[in-house]
């Protein structure tokens, strides 16, 4: 029997570099420049020894098509005979010189399923690397395995989603309005969006449990924000979208751009909402465009109260809109500080300033997850987490006013930090124990990595932490967080999350959760309620933050009332279809 080839062709030790470059479609195949070329870009991804798929240490592409019931065989090779990494789809030399050759090469890539597989692999890895960079540690997927499976052509269906149960991402394809087949795996935003679901699920697994509309909406919003901000790390693409001129025609001139192209509305239209969106344009009923409507939502503090915005995707758009508007405001502010040449701006500087703001916000958005309670997340708590994440790294906000701008923009969309547990500027309060904390019985070294040790610490100090012990407590994670402190020194902290789960009968709701039982709920009704918190230990092993959603809390009333009305008080989340249904509904508009 012929054994499957699992070893790569590399015979020598892998080269020392940390990254390699791979070709991707930068936005989607719908972005076409004036010279007819498409927005391809080479991106850096973590270097590794890839075997066919491509399959690496965190991603396994399995190009199986359930509609056609065939596997598109992976034929691309990712290293040369010397074991050096190669990009099998890099533009050949002649494509650099000749426009015709370039267009031909681009067209060939779009017809090659192995390139599609590479595109999905590279964007997933790039998104993973971005999370790991922001958090200063390895980030696990939302399931026990190490490799996220990716099906770039899973089925003929206008849908793409993450399934925890199947440990994978599924990308559909469909005939577009123009007759051409649309591949969702070629859309940068869709791949980055789905990858973010898988990553957020790994960081906060309880965010997929049934809860208030904010929780489901948060998953969508963060996925959108990551997808939208990621593109700014490709300056050549952003620059070209703002001013469509092939770089090679510059001849050393400074490219300039008119100020009217740099207003908040113009930037929204060009760089954020107007990009590509082949999926949107080609979707049979044109509703895919709704995917990007969020950024056009004008600030309105009543939005979240409107019935339309109770629906999770619409609700998520409000959070994404607040983030993107804050981004544009901050970018615009930096542009204002740039000099002009006869009234026009230096395009490269404009793009660079956008990249800086996007990079900072993206890091904040990801780091903020560490400061979010592990259950029943709401927009308000996320804002406090966002502000805290930034305040920890940049205590002085007076230069660029990131935090002030975010707080102000979020308020304009009706999102304010929680009224309790926060400083006046919205940053979480430092931990102030009501009774003394006992550190002496815990082993400092074990506390950095051992769930049982952290559990012991929590159990011993449950009084000081305000945990009433009625729920079952489980320590979800104990993770190191490494970053540069404001003084430039390396700061090592430990982030631990614990979750309290209470299985109750209706009769116990008031006693345990401190809220009234929803009208009509029988005393015998089974109810599952969650509490939990994140404890950040500083470099001395002392508690710096304890950010908790307690079991006994007024928020339980809203959650219970909603679940009771939906008949889902004790129904577990559907770990396969949770995002499948959500995303199809969204694409349907």
């Amino acid at each position: 029997m012929k054994l499957p080839k699992l070893r790569s062709s590399a015979r020598t030790a892998p080269p020392a570099g940390n990254t390699r470059r791979l070709m991707i479609v930068a936005k989607d195949p719908g972005v076409t420049f004036a010279d007819g070329s498409l927005a391809f870009a080479e991106v850096d991804v973590p270097a590794e020894n890839l075997i066919p798929g491509p399959t690496g240490y965190r991603v396994k592409v399995v190009d199986y098509d359930a509609t056609a019931q065939v596997l598109y065989l992976p034929r691309a090779s990712y290293s040369d005979d010397a074991g050096e990494p190669v990009d099998p789809f890099a533009f050949p030399a002649e494509a650099e010189a000749s426009q015709e050759a370039r267009l031909l090469h681009q067209a060939r890539l779009l017809e090659n399923p192995n390139f599609h597989a590479q595109n999905a692999y590279a964007i997933v890895m790039r998104t993973l690397a971005r999370f790991e960079f922001a958090l200063g540690r390895r980030v696990s997927w939302g399931f026990r395995g190490h490799q996220l499976h990716v099906a770039p052509h899973a089925f003929l269906e206008a849908n793409a989603f993450y399934s925890e149960e199947d440990q994978g991402l599924f990308f559909g394809y469909f005939p577009g309005l123009s007759g051409a087949t649309v591949f969702t795996c070629l859309s940068h935003d869709i791949v980055a969006h789905e990858t973010t679901h898988a990553l957020l699920d790994g960081l906060r697994t309880h965010f997929t449990e049934p809860s208030t509309p904010d929780q489901a909406a948060f998953h969508e919003a963060l996925a959108d924000v990551v997808a939208l901000l990621s593109i700014f790390s490709l300056p050549e693409i952003v620059g070209r979208i703002l001013r469509d001129e092939p770089p090679r025609t510059r001849d050393g001139r400074i490219p300039l751009i008119e100020p009217e192209k740099l207003t908040v509305d113009a930037l929204t239209d060009s760089v954020i909402a107007g990009l590509g969106l082949q999926v949107g344009r080609e979707f049979p009923d044109g509703h895919g465009a709704a995917l990007r409507q969020s950024v056009r939502l004008k600030p309105d503090p009543t939005l979240l109260q409107q019935p339309e915005f109770l629906e999770e995707h619409r609700r998520g758009e409000v959070l994404a809109a607040a983030m993107m508007r804050a981004f544009l405001t901050l970018w615009r502010r930096r542009i204002d500080q740039l000099g002009t040449f006869e009234g026009r701006y230096n395009l490269d500087m404009v793009v660079e300033s956008g990249a800086k703001v996007a990079d900072h916000l993206l890091t904040m958005a990801i780091r903020a997850i560490d400061y979010c309670p592990p259950t029943d997340i709401d927009f308000s708590a996320y804002l406090a987490a966002l502000l805290t994440a930034d305040a920890e790294v940049v205590p002085d906000d007076s230069r660029f006013h990131y935090r002030a701008t975010l707080a102000e923009t979020f308020r304009a969309y009706g999102i304010a930090p929680p009224t309790e547990g926060c400083r006046e500027d919205g940053v979480w309060d430092r931990f102030k124990p009501k009774e003394p904390v006992t550190y002496a019985r815990s082993n400092f070294d074990s506390m950095l990595r051992d769930r049982d040790e952290v559990f012991r610490f929590i159990w011993e100090n449950r009084g000081a932490l305000g945990i009433d012990g009625r729920g079952q407590i489980e320590v979800d994670s104990v993770l190191p967080s490494v970053r540069h402190g404001p003084d430039g020194f390396l700061l090592k902290e430990t982030v631990c999350t614990y979750v309290e789960t209470a299985e109750l009968f209706g009769a116990e709701v008031e006693k345990v959760l401190g809220v009234e039982r929803p009208a009509g709920m029988p005393t015998t009704e089974r109810v599952t309620a969650y509490g939990g918190g994140v404890i950040v230990f500083d470099q001395y092993g002392q508690i710096k933050f304890h950010i908790a959603h307690r079991l006994r809390s007024p928020r339980q009333a809203y959650r219970l009332a909603l679940l009771w009305d939906r008949g889902a008080t004790a129904v577990a989340a559907d770990r396969r279809n949770r995002f499948a249904v959500a995303h199809r509904t969204r694409m349907e508009g």
Partner: protein, 430 residues
């Protein structure tokens, strides 16, 4: 003194998974009858082949050859299949057609044309109406394609449970042209009703006031949803195309990437097999969720009728689910629900058809000692629809418990085998 019924008897027919209710209004001069739904998608155990014809004959005998009112709440097979005729003229629908029928009531979505006169639904535009009708037709098409995928082997490696559910819901949503056409011919007058319509059934059922709580019209729905229904319709127009496109691609052997080497699904190397299998299951669940979604849409076209007669209120909501109920529950008519004496349990006891806020409104529910206690009537068959582990089983266990504890429940699934119907009597004027 005006003519009014003195008593109401409800015959709840054993049709397995389906609905068939004959309401008898007893008047001093003669009895008058209303038939509410007549369909089944899962015959009762040990039922004979001509079970539905047997039911039809019993209805004919019981109403003495005359039905004042026929109501078809919506076009699902488990509510209308009994109206289907046979080429040789002895189908259950032929027996019903042989009766003298005065009025036929259906939801506005079944109107043959966008009515231009005052009895037409208050729709946004004739185009919107046409669009909705096309969407309903497309839903049948989608079901047909989904069932064909079961037949052509596209889903043969998928777990049995998924295939069975797909088949069950798919069949319920297939177009039953014969029944639909028969319903279009039946009766002296036909009404296509919507929320708030003044339905003049009192002309043939004196002393009975009928309120139409649902379905809402497109415009009414828009006022609570702010979502354009036409967009939703358009999705359904295209849904069958997507499935048929997928099937055609398979049937014609059209390659997505011509010339690229492939490996067939049944001969995959070990490293691909686990996930490839997952992709197949996920695809099948996609089709299933599409079919589930259209099933729900169709349920939400259900008529919700409330009869007020001799101081009693009888509620017949067909299979209306939460989206249909939502409009009724926030309307002034919702107040009328407090006084309901008899409730036909919506959608065979499913999770979403008896919203908690509806159940909470029934003031007459309570323990068996309660005077004038609520009566509930359910026609259902366990093990046909939904999954217990997902909390979607029909009838839903938690609802069943509430019905048993807080009302006088009559359910066909508890009836002795072989019994053709259950009889429930309400005395009036008390």
């Amino acid at each position: 003194m005006a003519l009014a019924p003195t008593k109401v008897t409800l015959f709840s027919y054993q049709v397995g998974f389906g609905d068939c209710f004959l309401l008898r209004f007893h008047y001093p001069d003669r009895d008058r009858h209303a038939l509410i739904d007549f369909g089944s998608t899962g015959k009762p155990k040990h039922a004979e082949k001509d079970h539905m014809a047997k039911v039809a004959r019993d209805i004919a005998a019981r109403c003495g050859g005359r039905l004042e009112v026929v109501v078809a709440t919506h076009r699902h097979a488990d509510h209308i299949s009994g109206f289907a005729t046979d080429p040789d003229g002895d189908g259950p629908g032929d027996i019903i057609a042989g009766l003298a029928i005065d009025y036929v009531v259906q939801p506005w979505t079944e109107a043959p044309d966008a009515a231009k006169d005052s009895i037409g639904p208050e729709i946004s535009s004739p185009q919107a109406f046409t669009s909705r009708r096309m969407a309903l037709a497309a839903m049948h098409e989608t079901s047909r394609h989904a069932l064909a995928m079961l037949d052509d082997g596209s889903l043969h490696r998928v777990p049995k449970a998924i295939r069975e559910e797909l088949e069950f819901i798919g069949r319920d949503n297939l177009s039953n042209l014969s029944a639909v056409e028969n319903l279009m011919r039946l009766g002296r007058r036909r009404f296509y009703a919507w929320h708030g319509m003044d339905l003049p059934l009192h002309r043939v059922l004196p002393g009975v006031k009928t309120h139409v709580l649902g379905p809402p019209t497109l415009r009414q729905t828009d006022t609570i949803r702010k979502q354009r229904s036409e967009d939703e319709d358009e999705f359904w127009h295209l849904a069958p195309l997507r499935l048929s496109g997928a099937r055609a691609a398979v049937a014609e052997g059209e390659a997505l990437f011509p010339g690229h080497p492939t490996e067939p699904g049944n001969r995959l190397a070990a490293q691909w097999r686990w996930f490839a299998n997952r992709v197949e299951q996920v695809q099948a669940e996609q089709v299933l969720s599409l079919v589930r979604a259209l099933d729900k849409q169709m349920n939400n076209t259900s008529l919700i009728l409330l009869f007020e007669v001799g101081g009693k209120s009888l509620l017949f909501p067909g299979d209306a689910q939460i989206e249909n109920w939502r409009y009724a529950l926030q309307s002034p008519m919702a107040e009328k629900l407090t006084a309901v004496d008899l409730y036909k349990v919506g959608h065979h006891g499913s999770l979403n058809a008896t919203p908690r806020s509806l159940w909470a409104r029934f003031a007459k529910r309570g323990p068996s000692t309660k005077k004038g206690r609520l009566t509930t009537v359910m026609s259902t068959m366990p093990g046909k629809h939904g999954k217990e582990e997902r909390g979607t089983e029909v009838p839903r266990a938690t609802l069943l418990r509430a019905l048993e504890t807080d009302s006088e429940l009559h359910s066909t699934h508890r009836a002795p085998e072989g019994q053709l119907f259950q009889e429930v009597t309400l005395k009036l004027g008390g």
